[in-house]
Amino acid sequence: MRILTTFKQETLKLLKKTRAWLGPILVFVLIMIAYPLTVELSSQNLSDAFYPVLFISCLLVMMLATEGIFLEDFEDGSLEQLVITGNSLYQSIIIKIFIYWLFIGIPISILGSLFNVGSGNTMDSSLMLLPPLMITTYIFLILFCFGNALSLTKGSVLGTLITMPLLLPILVILGKLTTAILFNINYFGFLILLFGILSIIIFIFPAIISKIIKTHLE
């Protein structure tokens, strides 16, 4: 019951703040449109270099999306209400991140695999791309939430600086995965690896984030 209420609250909040979720998606679309313009259209490079651009723009968009994810609730006092009424901060952070993923991560994953076809790759590779994109956006979201929670009132530059080292292993896996897709090798190993990372951090990081936010509230 409690979970459902939190779910509804967070959805309502995000829905009404159109720019918070539509903005990042539009930025993503812009990058995807801008990318072919910077490459000579006929060249083979377009499809080859697409994956790195895709993953980097996912990263950037997730950075944008999480910029004020806790700031608003912190500044208007919602977070202290949550703590003082004895509701679980941990739970609501998990739910909040999940809703952000639903609103931003999933559309971007779908758009990304659509643009994949548009840049000269096969339909098959697009379908292959969808699951890792979904997992990756979620991982990025959680990690950026961690950085932004630490630098809560101090802007997103600091948050990004903090998060960058954490993102590195994910990017390495994505690089491997890209090669696997390009050369048509079985990529499920990497997919499972990504999924494993997600399933670890999906519950551990919100706990750390809630500790951090409680420290901020003091």
């Binding site: 509804k8 009404k16 208007d76 006092g77 202290e80 209400q81 003082i84 009424t85 409680k214 003091e218």
Partner: protein, 192 residues
Amino acid sequence: MEDRLLIQANKLSYKINDNKLFSNFSLSLSAGQAIHIKGSNGSGKSTLLRILGGITEPSKGFVDKKPNINLSYLGHKNALKTYLTVRDNLILLNLKGKREINNLLDLFGLNDRLDIVTGNLSFGQQKKLALIRIFINKSDLILLDEPFVGLDSETQEILSNFLNKKVSEGVGLIFTSHIAANIQANTVSISS
């Protein structure tokens, strides 16, 4: 009498960067009592309320609370979403208790503003809305930080009466105020 004890603070001290705000502050509150905390600006009234509420950790001392106590707290921040309507803001808190919400809205005169975006309300109206949100919850202990600031004298009167009624019903109340309030309460002052 013992089991009616709601909250007890033992020798609380608080310091920021080794600057003492207050030290050795103790209080205890039973159900149906009210405490008015007085002190000069910057004496740490707000911090004290946050310590009692369990948001801030004291530098020394500890707070004992009745197990499973329901707390309500309103600080300087209203916890309102300015981009949502009044109705949505109330829904955010909980989905049940429609009648209570209506009673409170009537009491504070906000019943005709349900569909207005909260950001368009005046400061006093926002404060009233925030208070309503706090009072919807059935709570054993209410902590209020300067509840009368920004309210007109009429609303101050309504709020005092409301709080008096709550206290007589057995709710504990701790509040800070520099405006003389018409609430039956023991006065405690803090100083460093």
